[in-house]
Every structure is written in structure tokens, then in C-alpha cells.
């Protein structure tokens, strides 16, 4: 597990490019620790963070690291609230505070199991760096991605060789990415599933894998104020009662730890 410095670091934005309905924010991060796939960072624009309508954003926003390449960290953004909006308008040369890498990421699959990557929407981000890592280690991976429409499906370019499902049928399979997962598990169930996406998708993935006793690692999202275990705000209920903090016990949890994936608590956007 890569450890963060105990203070946020001021990084410089090198690019902010559209990718369909998303943007890919790239920041120079030559000196930072190399994140593990599934780890995340808390991001804050160095200027004009706060003071917008309703005096938000105030808290930093948690983002999975999508890729590390040529001394740059990449983050996948979707403009859905005051924080993500501000990050989406950052331009090359502007400053970004980053605290990270934080949390516990994905674990490699056992040698005899293939890696099956399942992503939904902006949740595809940590699967990109995971695929990069597998590829660097000479391992193939099967990638299944789901989006609401064609504009969002353009995000699939972040990964290589993905099979795509869209809600509106404009690209790939018309339906849910979990339809593709069910077919893949039917074809060859000897896999480890790595999933990140909206809670209903993760719940379907969890249920499908539990039914077939397929190991699954789920990267969760939750409203989070700090990212390092201080605020206790980002908890998810676990099997047998009690809670886990998504920031320090996750964000990647073994699917068997969860009774079910609850509709997430709505991360500050």
C-alpha cells in the first residue's frame, strides 16, 4: 500500500481534455508516491474553491487515480456538482491541491484466475490503472463497461478492448453491464471480478458473484470529508453488523464483507 504524505501537495495541471461526457484532468506529479490501483486522492482547486453559489465547494473531493503515466496522474471527472464543476474548468498551469494516495486498493488475482474488470460510468477510472498494471505484468484482462448513453460511452477509451453496454442501446449491448458479466461468468467462471461503479451496479455484481462463488473486489464510493479516517463520515454497513470506513478500510472491499451494497450516501459532488 502506497502511503500519502501527511499534508496535501500543490500540483500543477498539465491538461484537461474532454473524453465524451467526461474530462480527463492531468496533473504533474513527479515526486508523489506511486499509487496502487484503487487508491484515491482528495482534490481541491488551489484557487476559487468555495465562494461559489451557496458558498460551495468547501470540502475536498475524492477521486480514484485513473492512470499514472510520464510523471502525470490522471483523474476522470464528470461535472455533476459545484466541486466537480470547479475541477472540470481547471486549465493547464493552474494549481491543484492533492492529498494522496489514500486507502487500500485492489489485490492481484490468484495465478489461476483471469481478471474480469467491470465498470459503470465514472467508476471506470480505477479500472484503467488496474488494467495498466496487469498489462505491465503481462496479464490479460477482460473489460466490461456500462454507460447511460453514447456520449458517456466515449469514456471507454480510457481502457483497452472493452465490451460496452449502454442503457439507451446507442453503443454496444442495449442493457446493463451486468448482463455482459453474467454471460462472461457463464462462459468461464474461473475469474476474479474487479468492479467499480454506481451502487445498484455493484450490488448486481456482488449478487452475481456470490451466486457463483466468484471472488470479487468492489471499489466503493461514499461521501467523505477527509479521506484518512478522521471524520467517520464515509461508512458502509457490513455483513454481520457494524460499519467500515470506505477511506481507510477501503475503498476496495472484498464482496463477501458486504451483505449488500447500499445505495451510496451521495458523495459531495
Amino acid at each position: 500500500m502506497s502511503l500519502s504524505a501527511p499534508e496535501r501537495r500543490l500540483l500543477t495541471v498539465t491538461a484537461n481534455e474532454p473524453l465524451g461526457a467526461y474530462r480527463v484532468l492531468r496533473v504533474a506529479d513527479l515526486d508523489g508516491p506511486h499509487p496502487d490501483p484503487g487508491q484515491f486522492a482528495m482534490l481541491t482547486a488551489s484557487e476559487r474553491w468555495g465562494g461559489a453559489e451557496d458558498e460551495r465547494p468547501y470540502l475536498p473531493r475524492a477521486f480514484s487515480v485513473a492512470r499514472v503515466h510520464d510523471g502525470e496522474a490522471h483523474y476522470l471527472l464528470e461535472d455533476i456538482g459545484p466541486g466537480t464543476h470547479r475541477l472540470c474548468e481547471l486549465r493547464a498551469g493552474e494549481g491543484l491541491w492533492a492529498l494522496g494516495p489514500l486507502g487500500r486498493g485492489f489485490s492481484p488475482p490468484p495465478a489461476d484466475r483471469r481478471a474480469l474488470l467491470v465498470g459503470g460510468g465514472v467508476g471506470i477510472a480505477p479500472l484503467a490503472i488496474l488494467q495498466d498494471t496487469f498489462t505491465a505484468d503481462g496479464m490479460a484482462s477482460t473489460v466490461l463497461l456500462g454507460f447511460r448513453d453514447g456520449a458517456h460511452a466515449a469514456g471507454a477509451a480510457l481502457l483497452t478492448g472493452a465490451s460496452i453496454a449502454t442503457d439507451d442501446g446507442s453503443v454496444g449491448h442495449a442493457g446493463l453491464v451486468t448482463d455482459l458479466l453474467a454471460a462472461e461468468l457463464e462462459r468461464d467462471g474461473h475469474a476474479t471480478v474487479y468492479a467499480c461503479g454506481p451502487a445498484p451496479m455493484l450490488e448486481s455484481v456482488r449478487a452475481l458473484c456470490a451466486e457463483r462463488e466468484t471472488p470479487a473486489q468492489l471499489a466503493l464510493e461514499a461521501g467523505m470529508a477527509c479521506g484518512f479516517g478522521a471524520c467517520y463520515g464515509c461508512v458502509v454497513p457490513i455483513r454481520g453488523g457494524g460499519y467500515r470506513r470506505v477511506c481507510v478500510d477501503g475503498p476496495v472491499l472484498d464482496a463477501t464483507e458486504l451483505e449488500h451494497v447500499e445505495a451510496h450516501a451521495g458523495a459531495p459532488a
Binding site: L3, S4, A5, P6, E7, R8, M42, T44, G50, D54, E55, R56, P57, Y58, L59, P60, W97, L99, L102, A222, G223, M224, A225, C226, F228, G229, A230, C231, Y232, G233, C234, V235, V236, P237, G241, G242, Y243, R245, V248, E262, A263, A265, G266, P268
Partner: protein, 317 residues
């Protein structure tokens, strides 16, 4: 900055953390050994410890407010026994600053048991009482009523010779009267302000569904025993119903309350509420605080406390 004397302790500087805003053990795991060299506070105040373990409130637990944060965490903790048996030895291994343990009970007898247990541990330098807890009989916060507060402090004062700090609630008619009551009861210091009670409604577009909402809350006293506002419960965002507001939004309220308390009592005051920078800390010191605590800002930048301490030092030279 020269060291600060506080209740018989010598602290390296006047900046500590607010209870519940920094988890030293989790931070040590997230940041590694470097935290020992760069510990951001001159003393570490624990999360609130209760007699029995608490899971805390069901999520959602957070709401980003205008220039602030509403939390409804519900004081999750492992309970006194596991705190003493597991957390205390861990902290004893590496915590480089004095430890202040924050405790909460809903009766004087419960508080007394907690205080006595802390008194018996050398590693604990001081005890802070969280009195923002409803009385089991009246439902009113113990700390909101000066007479009740004085009686509770008086009852537990003989249980320890360690410094006893009373964390005052701002959700009261006259905080200075409460500070005075704590002093009369025998407190060595008061700390304020705790969070301001607040509420958030879910955006109307979000259908949260019934199942997510009201899971059993165990012995949580924060929310379930408080009167519920008459709103459609499906629109209450926080799993605990109401929460506590912190952050810059409460800074001016904190300044007024710290000033009022410091003007009323002889004992030292720990001032907190929305502190983000040296100027905010200096304001609290200027109205009479001896120490300043950083809370919500540490969520945004874990080393805020150290930055403010350095800034205060350079101002004073």
C-alpha cells in the same frame, strides 16, 4: 513560540485538535511513521469514548453546508474497555504529545466510571467531558443546563486528580453561565464550541427509498432520543436526523461564545470553531483562550495545526 502552560502540562505550542476531528491511529496508518515527527498538535484529544461500544449513526453522515459541514456521526467507538486495552497501548508506543481522552456518559454514575478508569492510566494526561449528551430522564443535554452541568462536574470531580476539561455545547441559552457552572463544579478548564445543531433535507430529485432510512440505531443517544422535527422523514438527509454544523460557517459564533466564556471564568479556555489560519487562531487567543483547537479544517489539510502553530510562533517573535 514558547511552550504553553496548561493545567499543569507544558505544551510545545497552543494548538490542539477538537475531539472527533482527528484519529491518530488511522492517520498513522494512512501516513506512516512520518506522522510521529510531524504530529500537527501539541496535545491529542481522542474521539469520544463511551462505556459501551457504539456503531454510530446510519449513513448518510455528512452534508456539505455553505462554508461548512454538518456531521451526524453518532460517536462510534469501541467502548471504554477496548479503548484502554487496544488503543491506549498503541498510542503509548508512538504518540509524541500528551493524550487527552474525551469521554461521554448519560448519567453521573456512567461519567464517574469513565473518569475513574481514565484516572488509573498514566498515559492519559487529562480528561475531557463531552456533556453534549441528553440526560436519560429529561432528554435535555447535560451541558445545556448550568445547574445540571455543575452537579455532574461536582459529582465526578473527586474521581480524578488529572486535569478535567468540560467541552461546552453551544446549543444553550447562555454559554458563559455554563462555563461558570463547570468552574463551580470543579473543572480545570472549559473547551468550546462544540458543533451547532443543524439539519439538511435531501435534494428533492433524490428518492432515497424507505429501506435505507431507519435501521436500528442501537443505543445511539444523539439523535434517536431527541425530538424529531415535523418534516417528512424521507427528506431528512442525515441518517441521524439532525447533525452538528462546523467549519468556517460557525467561526464568528465561536468567537462570541469563547469571548463570553473567557470573560466569565478564571480557569483556562480552549477556543475552537472554524479555525483555518493563524489569524483565526489569534482572534480566539485575543479574546481570552489559552489554547486553540483545529477541527474541520484538518479534514481538508491534515497538517493545518502545525501550520498555524508555526504561524503563531513567527507572529510572536
Amino acid at each position: 513560540m514558547s511552550p504553553v502552560e496548561f493545567c499543569g502540562m507544558t505544551l510545545a505550542h497552543p494548538v490542539i485538535n477538537g475531539s472527533g476531528t482527528f484519529d491518530a491511529i488511522a492517520a498513522r496508518r494512512a501516513f506512516g511513521e512520518v506522522l510521529e515527527q510531524e504530529f500537527p498538535f501539541a496535545a491529542f484529544v481522542s474521539k469520544t469514548i463511551t462505556l459501551r461500544p457504539r456503531e454510530g449513526n446510519p449513513p448518510p453522515r455528512l452534508w456539505e453546508a455553505p462554508a461548512g459541514l454538518i456531521n451526524s456521526i453518532g460517536l462510534p467507538n469501541r467502548g471504554l474497555n477496548r479503548y484502554l486495552a487496544e488503543d491506549l497501548p498503541t498510542l503509548a508506543q508512538w504518540l509524541p504529545v500528551p493524550l487527552i481522552t474525551n469521554v461521554m456518559g448519560s448519567t453521573a454514575a456512567e461519567i464517574s466510571e469513565l473518569v475513574r478508569a481514565c484516572d488509573a492510566r498514566d498515559k492519559i494526561a487529562a480528561i475531557e467531558l463531552n456533556v453534549s449528551c441528553p440526560n436519560v430522564h429529561t432528554g435535555l443535554d447535560i451541558g445545556a443546563d448550568p445547574r445540571q452541568l455543575e452537579a455532574v462536574v461536582k459529582a465526578v470531580r473527586p474521581d480524578t486528580r488529572k486535569p478535567l476539561i468540560v467541552k461546552l455545547t453551544p446549543n444553550t441559552a447562555d454559554v458563559a453561565a455554563c462555563a461558570q457552572a463547570a468552574q463551580e463544579g470543579g473543572a480545570d478548564a472549559v473547551s468550546l464550541i462544540n458543533t451547532l445543531r443543524a439539519m439538511a433535507l435531501a435534494p428533492r430529485t433524490v428518492d432515497r427509498g424507505p429501506s435505507e432510512h431507519r435501521s436500528a440505531r442501537g443505543d445511539d443517544v444523539d439523535s434517536s432520543e431527541r425530538p424529531r422535527a415535523a418534516v417528512n422523514p424521507s427528506r431528512q438527509w442525515l441518517g441521524g436526523g439532525t447533525g452538528g454544523l462546523s467549519g468556517p460557517a460557525i467561526r464568528t459564533v465561536a468567537l462570541a461564545q469563547v469571548a463570553a466564556a473567557a470573560a466569565r471564568v478564571e480557569i483556562p479556555v480552549i477556543g475552537m470553531g472554524g479555525v483555518q489560519c493563524v489569524a483565526h487562531a489569534q482572534d480566539l487567543l485575543d479574546v481570552g483562550a489559552t489554547l486553540v483547537a483545529v477541527g474541520t479544517e484538518s479534514f481538508r489539510e491534515p497538517l493545518t495545526g502545525a501550520r498555524i502553530a508555526r504561524g503563531l510562533a513567527s507572529h510572536s517573535t
